[in-house]
């Protein structure tokens, strides 16, 4: 099961721009593995910017999905997997 969150979050990235830690519920989670990266142009005809999604596994073994869009470095926590 996945829980839809879609809220802005704070994030730390490595030199390649991949997330290695993010803040959720006032607590920092460290990224153990980036499992997948994908991009979604969304509804470009409505002016929606392209988003880059990251499915990550934290050190605790949980799965999260984060994304950033190309409007200036904002990051969002998208989903949490049980």
């Amino acid at each position: 099961m996945a829980k839809f969150i879609n809220k802005a979050t704070e994030i730390r990235c490595d030199s390649k721009g991949n997330p290695f830690a993010f803040l959720f519920n006032k607590k920092w989670f460290r990224v153990n593995h980036v499992l997948e990266i994908w991009k979604d142009t969304g509804t470009w005809w409505d002016g929606e910017p392209e988003k880059t999604f990251f499915r990550v596994e934290t050190t605790g073994g949980s799965l999260y999905e984060l994304y950033t869009d190309d409007t200036g470095g904002r990051w969002f926590l998208y989903r949490i997997y049980d």
């Binding site: 499992l35 997948e36 990266i37 994908w38 991009k39 979604d40 142009t41 509804t43 470009w44 392209e50």
Partner: protein, 1047 residues
């Protein structure tokens, strides 16, 4: 480190590719890529073009395809060499022809039998192996990989890795790499390229919407999630495949493994097989030529013999004797079968073609040079085009299929491309604009390229008034421009047939176009590049009309022979000189009629010049007026350069024919035959401005080096530029002029016969049936209404009258006609009830037949008949077989168990005493059903009111004073905006009234004011005020004001 893209789609993936091939190749060259593979879906349409561009850019072209297999999965195939190319052709052909009327599907067994010379990549996500992995079926994926290894060999099969940032990519690539490792296979990185730059993604997305019939807001699995399928640099590819460096390196290795595979330029034309025993093709051609020469010339002078020997020598030295024999064979079949035809094009330069009865132009008598058709220096392939009677053209092509084998003959394809209207419609629909608005605006768009809409809005008032330039359409129009010229689907060339020495499927991929016609995947240009020769067997309705007219004329004048029409008939030239040429082949447009009324043609040479003059090339090149003035001695004949005199003397110093342009290039700029031929191609194929500019710079440079002043060289080339793309070659003009003159002769001497034939074979020519009937009436021919007992399938002649055919009635189809004519063989219908008893006609069609007077001779009241039909118990059809029984047939068009004719008879017996329609009502009904005013013209009803308002009829205009401001009115005929010398917009149309046509010219200023009225359909009857201009024997009006005709 470099990289080779091995999986690229061009626009020839038909709505699944948004990057122009030129852009892709240029971008790859900029990225220093050593090779590039084009892999469109199930076709090689772009292969020839891609090869040429890539080689020019210094890139090795790899011919490939993304094939759809029988299970729907995709497989990428690349040709390593010509054998691989040949196998690709076979595989694609089998995939298409083995799946008629459905999407192409290649069978695995075909891959096994055509595996040589090919490299296979496991494909995109829709490949069998990636698909099975995504489904979690790892062992099945491995089995599938082993199967493909067995087909192509381990060295020729690669696991294709993509990293186009789709969910699951990382794990998929991991699994694919593991599979490759287990089986000892190599991997290859690819990006499934569908466009050149990331910014073109939205165009690709829109094309996908068009392909999948969806709108942008709809969800469809074919639509891509992101914009990553662009032509990435080697650096980008290396970065996204940093975990698989070997997959990147292998693309270079694969590039090395492939060599250019298209074996262009090979002689693939078949040998002529019906040679007499012991005879060679050259010997037989010589025999046939001289046999024909004996018939054509009767007395063979030394001049004729030398010319024929010279031509035969060149034909045989270039190796085209079999080609000539094949064309002779085709026309000989037509002659045996009495199928009328006429050769056109530059073949008319050949006396051999004349002696073989391929053309009707005596090139020796006309002084036409054979070298303009074929020469040892140019050594280009001959191009012979023949017009056949439109009804029987397919019989000629069927003969060739039978003779050479259906595996060696195919029709050449055409590519239907996006133009303004189609791009606007399709893209607007995808972008969810309201359908009504799309339709309204699309109808206003002229026939232009879709990247010219902005320009058209500036120039054409009807577009500005339409609101198409509103801000909300900006993005849409930008997208229209982006897809300009992209192919939408494959179509069938009107006449191009290709015949091959070897089975065609090994030379060019074949597929089915509409109506099941098997076509090549290359169009006529690419076919020739491959070494195949196209034969144009065109279908010309004029030939059918000539044949019909000749037949009916012979019924009254038995000695009439179309081919022996005297070429110096003064009455015919007198008619032509009055500009009374509506209905005459090639001479009937307003521009031609206007030219003829000033030109004073006195021989066939003048008709040849006329045919060549009214073409966009000479018009844009400002050659029409100087030609007329010089021809009539009103202006001295001058030449820009003394070297031009021998070339242009025949045409009074004016560039009129394509051949003259070639000669100018050769003489002034010292172009080699190859360069001159390139110039011809640039000119005749309306290539890009850039290509024209390039060759122009070359012309000027070489001309200056050859001793011509730069200013003069520039002026000479400006003539060539103006002329480009739409000029005739002299031989072609001569061939057309012969037909033009002969049709003029028939109209002059046998108007009823020729107009009946013209009307029978519509649509053709410039005018619709009503205008042709006005013209026939003007010539004293009576137009008779359709009559159920007297009308035939086609228009017929009764004394000096023409009878409207039953086919002309709205809704009358072939089967209805057949039933009526078959029933009529037993005797004429004696009453309306008798007609119903003896035949079966759809109810709506029956009403149409009554409405236009088809039963007027059987019953006095149309209204009563329509009442009877409408009130009888017959839902959709009237069945004669129900006349005496209540259990009728159950075939389509008739209804079982209904009292049909019986019920009509009942209704007829109790007809109410209602008055018939008024004559005006009948007039309207007749026009609606026939498209023809039978008894009188629409304008005649308004004449007394128009007279009282001072509106002048076309008959009285001739008497009006030159330069006077007059007002006239009529039905607007064919408004059009041909290209002009100045580049300004000028519109032309004719106003038709009961006395004939008045030509109207609308110059830019007036056009900008009133143009919307002319080009917004439906165009209403118009009232035009303007200055009367007498030109030669004709007159026209320069419009000042145009308005809807007030009732």
């Amino acid at each position: 480190m470099s990289f080779v893209h091995l999986h690229i789609h061009s626009p020839f993936s038909f709505l699944d590719g948004a990057g122009r091939i030129e852009e892709m190749v240029a971008a790859a060259a900029d990225m220093d890529m050593p090779a590039l593979a084009l892999t469109d879906h199930n076709n090689l349409c772009a292969a020839v073009h891609f090869n040429k561009l890539a080689l020019k850019a210094g890139i090795k072209p790899i011919t490939g395809v993304e094939l759809t297999l029988e299970d729907g999965s995709h497989l990428t195939l690349l040709a390593k060499n010509p054998l691989g190319y040949s196998n690709l052709c076979r595989i694609i052909t089998t995939a298409h022809l083995g799946s008629p009327r459905t999407a192409p599907r290649a069978r695995y067994e075909t891959l096994s039998s055509c595996n040589e010379g090919l490299i296979a990549l496991s494909g995109c996500r829709r490949g069998k192996i990636p698909g099975l992995i995504l489904d979690g079926k790892y062992s099945a994926a491995e089995e599938s990989a082993v199967g493909l290894v067995n087909v192509f060999g381990k060295d020729n099969f690669f696991i294709e890795l993509h990293n186009d940032f789709l969910p699951g990519n990382r794990s998929l690539n991991r699994s694919l790499a593991e599979l490759a490792g287990r089986l000892g296979l190599e991997t290859a990185a690819a990006n499934n390229v569908h466009y050149t730059g990331k910014e073109q993604f939205k165009i690709h997305d829109l094309l996908t919407c068009i392909r999948t019939l969806t709108r942008l807001d709809d969800i469809h699995p074919e639509r891509r999630l992101n914009a990553e399928n662009y032509l990435k640099t080697a650096g980008e590819m290396k970065e996204i495949f940093c975990d698989y460096p070997r997959a990147v390196a292998n693309t270079l290795m694969i590039g090395e493994m492939c060599e250019p595979a298209l074996a262009a330029g090979d002689r693939l034309f078949p040998a002529f097989t019906d040679l007499p025993p012991g005879e060679t093709a050259a010997g037989f051609l010589r025999y046939l030529t001289f046999e024909g020469a004996g018939q054509r010339y009767r007395c063979l002078t030394q001049n004729i013999i030398s010319r024929l020997e010279h031509e035969l020598d060149i034909i045989c030295r270039l190796g085209f004797e079999d080609y000539f024999l094949l064309v002779w064979d085709a026309v000989n079949f037509a002659r045996r079968e009495k199928i009328r035809y006429a050769g056109r094009g530059s073949a008319a330069d050949s006396a051999v073609a004349y002696c073989l009865y391929i053309t009707e132009v005596d090139s020796i008598a006309r002084g036409l040079l054979f070298e303009r058709f074929m020469s040892l220096e140019r050594a280009q392939k001959p191009d012979i085009d023949i017009d056949f009677d439109s009804r029987y053209r397919d019989r000629v092509s069927a003969y060739l299929y039978r003779k050479y084998g259906s595996d060696r003959v195919a029709t050449v394809c055409t590519y239907n491309t996006f133009r303004a209207r189609s791009a606007f419609r399709d893209l607007a629909k995808a972008m969810d604009f309201p359908i009504g608005e799309i339709d309204r605006l699309a109808k206003r768009l002229p026939y232009i390229h879709s990247d010219q809409i902005d320009l058209a809005v500036e120039r054409f008032p009807e577009l500005r008034e339409s609101g198409i330039d509103a801000p909300r359409f900006r993005e849409l129009l930008g997208c229209c421009a982006a897809v300009s010229g992209f192919p939408r689907f494959i179509g069938t060339h009107l006449g191009g047939i290709v015949i091959s020495r070897q089975p065609l499927a090994s030379v060019v991929p074949l597929q089915e176009a509409t109506k099941g016609v098997v076509v090549t995947q290359y169009d006529k240009e690419f076919i020739e590049d491959l070494g195949l020769i196209k034969l144009d067997l065109l279908s010309l309705r004029t030939m059918a009309a000539i044949e019909d007219a000749a037949l009916t004329i012979r019924e009254t004048v038995s000695e009439f022979d179309y081919d022996a029409i005297p070429m110096n008939d003064s009455a015919t030239f007198e008619m032509i000189n009055k500009g009374e040429t509506a209905g005459v082949f090639q001479l009937e447009s307003p521009a031609q009629r206007s030219l003829q009324s000033r030109f004073k043609a006195s021989g066939i040479e003048d008709i040849i010049a006329s045919v060549a003059l009214i073409r966009p090339g000479p018009i844009k090149g400002n050659m029409v007026e100087p030609f007329i003035a010089r021809r009539q001695g009103q202006e001295p004949v001058t030449y820009l350069h003394p070297k031009l005199k021998p070339i242009l003397e025949k045409t009074y110093g004016v560039v009129l024919f394509q051949e003259q342009v070639i000669e100018i290039a050769t003489v002034i700029a010292g172009f080699t035959p190859g360069e001159a031929d390139r110039l011809r191609r640039v000119m005749t194929h309306a290539r890009s401005h850039r290509e024209m500019a390039d060759i122009g710079a070359e012309f000027i440079r070489k001309a200056v080096a050859n001793g011509t002043g730069s200013e003069i060289a520039e002026t000479i080339f400006s003539y060539i530029m103006g002329y480009a793309s739409y000029g005739f070659c002299e031989a072609h003009a001569a061939a057309f002029a012969t037909t033009a003159y002969r049709t003029a002769y028939m109209i002059r001497h046998y108007p009823a016969h020729f107009f009946a034939a013209l009307l029978s074979h519509q649509p053709m020519g410039f005018y619709d049936p009503n205008t042709l009937c006005v013209e026939a009436r003007r010539r004293g021919v009576t137009v008779l209404p359709p009559d159920i007992n007297l009308s035939g399938s086609y228009f017929t002649v009764e004394n000096n009258s023409l009878r409207i055919s039953l086919r002309q009635i709205k809704g009358v189809k072939e089967n209805t006609l057949e039933r009526i004519l078959t029933a009529r063989k037993d005797g004429p219908f004696t009453s309306f009830e008798d007609f119903l008893c003896r035949t079966t006609v759809d109810k709506d069609v029956l009403v149409n037949m009554i409405s236009c007077g088809g039963f007027d001779n059987l019953h006095p009241s149309r209204r009563q008949l329509i009442w009877a039909v409408s009130t009888a118990a017959i839902p959709t059809a009237i069945s004669g077989s129900a006349c005496s029984t209540t259990t009728g047939p159950t075939t389509a068009g008739s209804l079982a168990g209904l009292t049909t004719a019986g019920s009509i008879t009942g209704a007829m017996a109790a007809l109410p005493d209602i008055p018939d329609f008024t004559s005006r009502e009948k007039f309207n009904m007749e026009y609606e059903m026939l498209g023809i005013d039978i008894h009188r013209h629409y304008m005649s009803y308004l004449r007394s009111r128009l007279d009282s308002r001072g509106v002048v009829s076309s008959r009285n205009l001739r008497k009006a004073k030159e330069g006077s401001l007059i007002t006239t009115a009529g039905l607007p005929i064919r408004p059009h905006r041909p290209p002009t010398r100045t580049g300004k917009v000028a519109a032309f149309f004719s106003l038709e009234d009961e006395f004939g046509l008045t030509d109207v010219t609308v110059f830019e200023k007036t056009y900008q004011k009133y143009g919307a009225l002319l080009f917004t359909k439906p165009v209403p009857p118009l009232q035009v005020s303007g200055i009367l201009q007498h030109r030669g024997n004709g007159f026209s009006i320069i419009a000042r004001r145009i308005a809807k005709l007030a009732p």
